[in-house]
């Protein structure tokens, strides 16, 4: 008796076997061996992922429930392969020449590389495919359950569901391992294709084996089986013509639009010629797959209990007969169908999700800046791996949530109808240059919404996702909006009804909006490339290196990869080709390898364009040019950043130059200052030295002379001391190291002190003491110093016969002003500008003082938060000391 443990073991062994095959195929492909990998047979077999577990198990169930209707599912693809092969060929040609990575990429590329469109297609694809992945997981679980029915000691439901989880995880790991070996989504996944081709053989063989067993083992030969069929209700089923036609059309449309079919048919396509073989071989495969469906269904209905699930007849018939080996083979067939579908769907969807959703978001988060190639590669790979895990897990959750209620075929049809919404945009894009991006968006939106409303949401049953009232009375109670009788179209089959309306309105919206809008230039370009693909590209299947100059290629490669690496690559390839030199023949294979190597450094599009040019095939595709333009734009952005940088450097240089100028100027000022200080120090020292020598050397000086010369020495010494004091004071003030000694003081007191300090005899000072009764909170000593300076200056320089200094204290709005005005001739206009500078002694004055007084005053006033200025236009010299009002404590 078969135990679940044995089944698990068989599964593990089988998957290990697949791993081995896939790994070997990958290795062979990378080493350039294994041309058999690229045979049309493998291509045809890989197309069989169309036949999923739905086909394997579900077709029999379908037949048992609805008679011959299941044939429509095979009929559609067969008609497409035979009747529309030229359309498929066009898709394959475009896919290769435009380096298409997915159906989303195809549609977005056609409509001007619109990412909005790509995101939309991706979302529809995910929504449409997730139930399908769930379906596969469900079928695997059900097949486990079929074994458990025979053996009552078997597992619980929980364990069955956990089997679904394990299967999901295993498939995700497998897909990640073999589906994301390289970042180039356009590159073929040889390992995966090989594995699914093998699975195609397994499932066909299993189904045929079961069929043979059922017909000859159970049914008693062809004649008896036919009799059984006649006797069963299958023969009585009459399929309505509309449903027949509708379902055939639906499966035909879906065959073109399914992301996984697109993946194997277009993306994984090695050679356009393979399609030619597939046009007849694939229908044969489908025919073989469907050969025993009816017999198995009929015999199953007859032999098995009436409550047996017809979806599992393929499994339960051998089990019932005790043919365990056959049952396990059958189980493996179903397992193969399920796994191959999940793997390819996950690869296809993850490519879309990562390329059109994750990467754009990531790039935008990076601020759209040019990023290092390796960086992107890592992120792209990670995004694709996470997307694979995400897609498979999404399927698993759908499976857990939806339960096992719905019949397999029903889920499949809903999914088909959703994905078929791509068709108008896809076909329009291939054949109609007038199709526009907005048209495609409009068609997709209309179709998708109608599909959701008419088919997807109601498919969960009334009241689950869609209220019963809406299903029965229409949205908002409008009967013409009933999801299953839209616009009053009653009495139709639900699926056919939904497909009819969604496709009809999708196409109408697509065409109408396309006619009403104008394509952008890039859409026109891409449109021309797509529609006229056969005119543009010769035979893009592979490089032809006839004219290629290996040496030119080497030179170019050295520039990109560096000499050593490039020479190693070339001589390695030459060696492999059996040549003695270091230059290989420019064979297709070599050029392919070279392009891949180069694309690692300069990007796929550039590498392609570069080789194109050297090899002499001037058909650089528009896409390539556009991609090059993209890269060029990045380079331009980079160079504009460089420019910005060099502008910044220029700015820095200018600042440095300015700083240097300033320093030079400061240095000149310092020299001039030192020179002035020197002058001011040496002048009194000259007198001191001269007179002390006179006193020392010359005898016979009278007392009066002695006294006179001594007092000159004394005066000059004091002058020196004052000068040094002033210099130190100024230096402290200028360096800002001064500590202010803030205290309260009366303006009148400070002026009194200043007048007394200057000891101005014969010099009248006019004051209004009443206005001076203002208390200031300030550094009283420093402010007094300013006053002393101003009064002393007036005393020294006022040239009036009867010198008078007038001191006025005025309170203005926010300042206190103290004016010192004398009645002399004042200061000439030209000199007014420099009087506050150091050593700015002006005119011919020989009065004592080094010319630091006003400079010191200015510094002090700045420290006190006030100001000192010369007031021009007065009768004499007039200085104004300004203090901020907040220093005034009170006016008495």
């Amino acid at each position: 008796m078969t135990t679940p443990n044995l089944l698990v073991l068989v599964c593990i062994l089988y998957v290990t076997f697949l791993f081995t095959i896939a790994f070997a195929a990958d290795r062979a492909a990378r080493k350039g061996r294994g041309t058999w990998l690229r045979s049309p047979l493998i291509y045809t077999l890989s197309l069989s992922i169309y036949c999923t577990a739905w086909t394997f198990y579900g077709a029999v169930g379908y037949a048992a429930r609805s008679g011959m209707e299941f044939v429509t599912i095979y009929l559609g693809p067969t008609l497409v392969m035979i009747g529309w092969w030229w359309t498929l060929r066009k898709m394959v040609r475009i896919g290769r020449s435009q380096r298409i990575t997915s159906i989303a990429d195809m549609i977005s590329s056609r409509y001007g590389k619109s990412n909005t469109l790509a995101v939309f297609v991706t979302l529809i694809a995910v929504v449409g495919t997730t139930p399908y992945i769930a379906l596969q997981l469900q079928s695997v679980t059900l097949s486990f359950a079929a074994f458990s029915k025979v053996d009552p000691t078997l597992t619980s439901v929980v364990r069955l569901q956990s089997i679904g989880l394990y299967v999901a995880i295993g498939l995700a790991v497998f897909t990640i391992l073999f589906g994301t070996r390289n970042v180039d989504a356009n590159e073929r996944h040889h390992g995966v294709v090989m594995a699914i081709a093998l699975e195609a053989v397994v499932k066909l063989f299993a189904l045929l084996a079961v069929g043979v067993f059922v017909v000859w083992g159970l049914g008693g030969g062809i004649g008896d089986t036919l009799a059984t069929i006649d006797a069963s209700k299958i023969a009585e089923w009459e399929v309505p013509g509309s449903r027949w036609a509708g379902l055939t059309m639906l499966s035909a449309m879906a065959f073109i639009c399914l992301p996984r079919i697109f993946q194997v048919m277009v993306v994984e396509n090695e050679d356009e010629g393979h399609l030619r073989t597939a046009t007849w071989a694939f229908p044969v495969y489908l025919m073989l797959m469907s050969l025993f469906v009816i017999p198995i269904a009929a015999v199953g209905l007859e032999r098995l209990p009436s409550d047996a699930n017809p979806d599992l007849f393929v499994l339960t018939l051998p089990l019932m007969a005790g043919e365990d080996a056959l049952a396990i083979l059958s189980f493996l067939g179903g397992f193969s169908s399920a796994t191959s579908m999940v793997i390819v769907a996950a690869i296809a969807l993850s490519t879309m999700v990562s390329n059109h959703i994750v990467m754009p978001i990531w790039l935008r988060m990076k601020g759209g800046t040019a990023v290092v190639a390796g960086d992107v590669r890592d992120v792209a790979l990670l995004a694709r791996r996470l997307s694979i895990a995400g897609v498979v897990m999404l399927g698993y959750f759908y499976f857990r949530l939806s339960g096992a209620g719905t019949a397999l075929a029903a889920i499949g049809l809903v999914s088909f109808a959703g994905l078929s919404q791509f068709l108008p945009a896809l076909m329009g894009g291939l054949f109609w240059r007038g199709a526009t991006r907005l048209g495609a968006l409009a068609g997709l939106t209309v179709g998708f919404v109608l599909w959701l409303y008419c088919l997807f949401l109601p498919s969960f049953g009334p009241g689950v996702l869609m209220p019963v009232s809406v299903i029965e009375d229409g949205l908002l109670g409008l009967s013409w909006l009933r999801p299953q009788a839209l616009f009053g179209a009653q009495g139709m089959d639900k699926v056919v009804h939904a497909v009819m309306w969604s496709m009809l309105l999708n196409t109408a919206a697509f065409i109408t909006v396309s006619l009403l809008t104008f394509p952008k230039p890039i859409e026109r370009l891409q449109g021309a490339q797509f529609v006229n693909v056969f005119d543009h590209s010769g035979h893009p299947g592979s490089w032809t290196g006839g004219l290629a100059q290996s040496e030119d290629l080497l030179i170019m490669t050295q520039r990109i990869m560096g000499a050593a690496e490039a020479q190693a690559l070339f001589s390695g390839m030459a060696h492999k080709q059996g040549l003695t030199g270091y230059l290989p023949e420019p064979s297709t294979e070599f050029l392919g390898v070279l392009e891949r190597e180069l694309s690692g450094s300069v990007g796929a599009a550039t590498a392609h364009a570069m080789i194109s040019q050297i090899v002499g095939r001037a058909t650089v595709s528009v896409e390539d040019l556009l991609a090059v333009a993209d890269e060029a734009a990045q380079i331009m952005e980079y160079s504009s950043r460089l420019e910005a940088k060099s502008a910044e450097q220029a700015r820095t240089a200018r600042q440095l130059r300015e700083a240097n100028d300033k320093l030079t100027k400061l240095s000149v000022q310092k020299d001039s200052f030192l020179s002035q200080v020197s002058h001011e120090l040496r002048t009194p020292m000259t007198s001191i030295r001269a007179f002390s020598e006179i006193l020392r050397d010359a005898g016979g000086l009278n007392l009066r002379e002695q006294q006179k010369y001594s007092s000159i020495i004394y005066d000059e010494s004091r002058r020196l001391t004052r000068l040094l004091d002033d210099l130190l004071d100024l230096s402290v003030l200028e360096s800002g190291q001064i500590t202010l000694n803030m205290q309260l003081g009366l303006v009148a007191d400070m002026l009194d002190r200043a007048v007394a300090a200057t000891g101005a005899d014969g010099f009248r000072i006019e004051r209004d003491v009443a206005s001076e009764q203002i208390v200031l909170n300030t550094d009283v000593d420093r402010l007094s110093q300013v006053f002393i300076n101003l009064i002393a200056n007036a005393h020294k320089y006022c040239d009036a016969d009867q010198p008078v200094l007038r001191i006025d204290v005025r309170s203005a709005d926010d300042t206190l002003e103290i004016d010192f005005a004398d009645n002399g001739t004042g200061i000439q206009m030209a000199d007014q500008a420099v009087i506050f500078e150091k050593f700015a002694r002006i005119g011919e004055s020989t009065a004592a003082g080094a010319g630091l007084g006003l400079a010191i005053c200015r510094e002090i006033m700045a420290r006190l938060g006030g100001d000192i200025s010369y007031v021009p236009g007065q009768s004499g010299a007039a200085f104004r000391v300004t203090l901020p009002q907040e220093m005034c404590m009170a006016a008495q």
Partner: protein
């Protein structure tokens, strides 16, 4: 007749000191204390030696020296330049302008006397 020295200097104490030193040696010292009309005084006085300060109010000593050297009648008069600034470039400027001797303040009395004597002798 005593040899005449014209002292052009703005510091009264320095005028007093030099006057004392040279007078005692028998020189006839005249002084002038600004740069404006210094040339007029030189032309009027026709001194045997000119002692010229660099930093003068009104006009600096170098310009006055240049005028003296440019004047055909005064051209050969010995000029002793005095400066308190003590920078190398001042000495160079003085030499270029044609100073007979250049002295940095403060100076020793004996030195001034020696220089003035030597200037007249040559």
């Amino acid at each position: 007749m005593a040899r005449q020295v014209l002292l052009i200097e703005d510091e009264p104490n320095i005028i007093e000191a030099i006057s004392f030193i040279l007078s005692r040696d028998g020189w006839d010292v005249k002084s002038h204390s600004n740069g404006h009309d210094a040339m007029d005084v030189v032309r009027a006085q026709r001194p045997d030696v000119v002692i010229l300060d660099v930093m003068l109010p009104g006009r600096n000593g170098f310009d006055i020296l240049a005028d003296i050297r440019a004047d055909p009648e005064l051209g050969q008069v010995p000029v002793l330049m005095l400066t308190a600034r003590g920078q190398v470039k001042d000495r160079e400027m003085a030499e270029r302008a044609g100073a007979s001797h250049y002295m940095i303040k403060p100076f020793s009395n004996a030195e001034v006397l020696d220089v003035v004597r030597s200037l007249v002798r040559t």
